[in-house]
Subunit: 250 residues, 2 copies
Amino acid sequence: MKPEILQARLESPPAEAAGWSPAEFEAKLRERGRAYHIHHPYNVMLNGGRATREQVRGWVANRYYYQIAIPIKDAAVLSNCPDPVVRRGWVQRILDHDGFELNGIRDAGGVEAWLRLAESVGLTREEVVDLRHVAPGVRFAVDAYVNFARRAPWQEAVCSSLTELFAPEIHKQRLANWPEHYRWIDPDGLKYFQSRVSLARRDVEFGLAFTLAHFTTRAAQERALEILKFKLDVLWQMSDAMALRYGVPL
Amino acid sequence: MKPEILQARLESPPAEAAGWSPAEFEAKLRERGRAYHIHHPYNVMLNGGRATREQVRGWVANRYYYQIAIPIKDAAVLSNCPDPVVRRGWVQRILDHDGFELNGIRDAGGVEAWLRLAESVGLTREEVVDLRHVAPGVRFAVDAYVNFARRAPWQEAVCSSLTELFAPEIHKQRLANWPEHYRWIDPDGLKYFQSRVSLARRDVEFGLAFTLAHFTTRAAQERALEILKFKLDVLWQMSDAMALRYGVPL
């Protein structure tokens, strides 16, 4: 996607071209996974067990800003979407992150689970919640994502969630490697990753089916690929900012 | 509240004045109920049993546009609000209107209940959902409310929900009078009003406590009264537009 300030420029419409088949289009979306932050040196270091306590803590504290932005972003999708069926499904994401109390059922939610992760790596709740550790590069990247979801058509915001295609793998890496390499972390703190493996699968099922059904012309499909690239850039840039602040092995 | 296009003008700050006590402020908010649409001739006609079938149907079909705007408006509040405790309470309003399916519990929601009301007064779902009956005056009023909630600080949007102070009474009027006067309406269709009596009470409990706690200086309290006036105007204008279209006894 072009930088936002360039998007207002008039562009000549792309020449009409036939859309890819859903299978071809899905393959192209999945292909973009090569730019997922699972390949970023900071993540490779983290999940390879070579991070110091400070590097783990820095990641958890910075990533918290992304965690709290997600329900805000999802509420923006809801607020832009007039389709009650989509809303009824999408609101589940907000409940997952914020938690809920409904008809006697209580769920503390993903943001709370993240705070427990933070405590288990030796951060205080206070220093995480007040965002003192959040690097400006992380903040600007996350804000770009929220602003995109606020201003883009909701269908594009749905498409931008497709990095979830690649999320179960990165969570499984953490679950497989962290307990072995970081014995100083209370394993109870890793529950967030466990819950996200299945939730990300459920969420992306809708996001992918919707994207394949909605982006059907070639121009729309190329736009969808650009949007996915933008979201991959958001995650990559977060890792860049953390690598710059906390260091990364050469 | 001033018309939106005048609000960008610079204003000299009002002279400092002490805030009213919470009890005084609450009395002033409640006093505004004299401009609630319960007193509008169209509502007086409706709830007094003097409306024709066309006037009842016109009201139900037009008011549907307000019903579907409410979860959009509430999602805008969510999206503007960084406080997870407030969000966890506020999301309940979206679930109430859109319905939900969660841990085996299913609620069809208020918008669906409204569609059942529509059917019970002899409208088809289709002619309600496609908004063909919605008068431009109704649309612009509802849109003004949604746009306010999107752009105002979330605290002001919470304050704008305070017309719920007066809502249980208008729903109780409907429940008391409609079955007697409009025997042609399937009483099953009136369940929406029944559910809103308790939900509006629960909702306004938070909205009022929050407004009393948050708007504490005299200038802020006057702003809150302006916001409530704006919201009362939205509802009143909807009735005006319906009266103009469907007629009202002189």
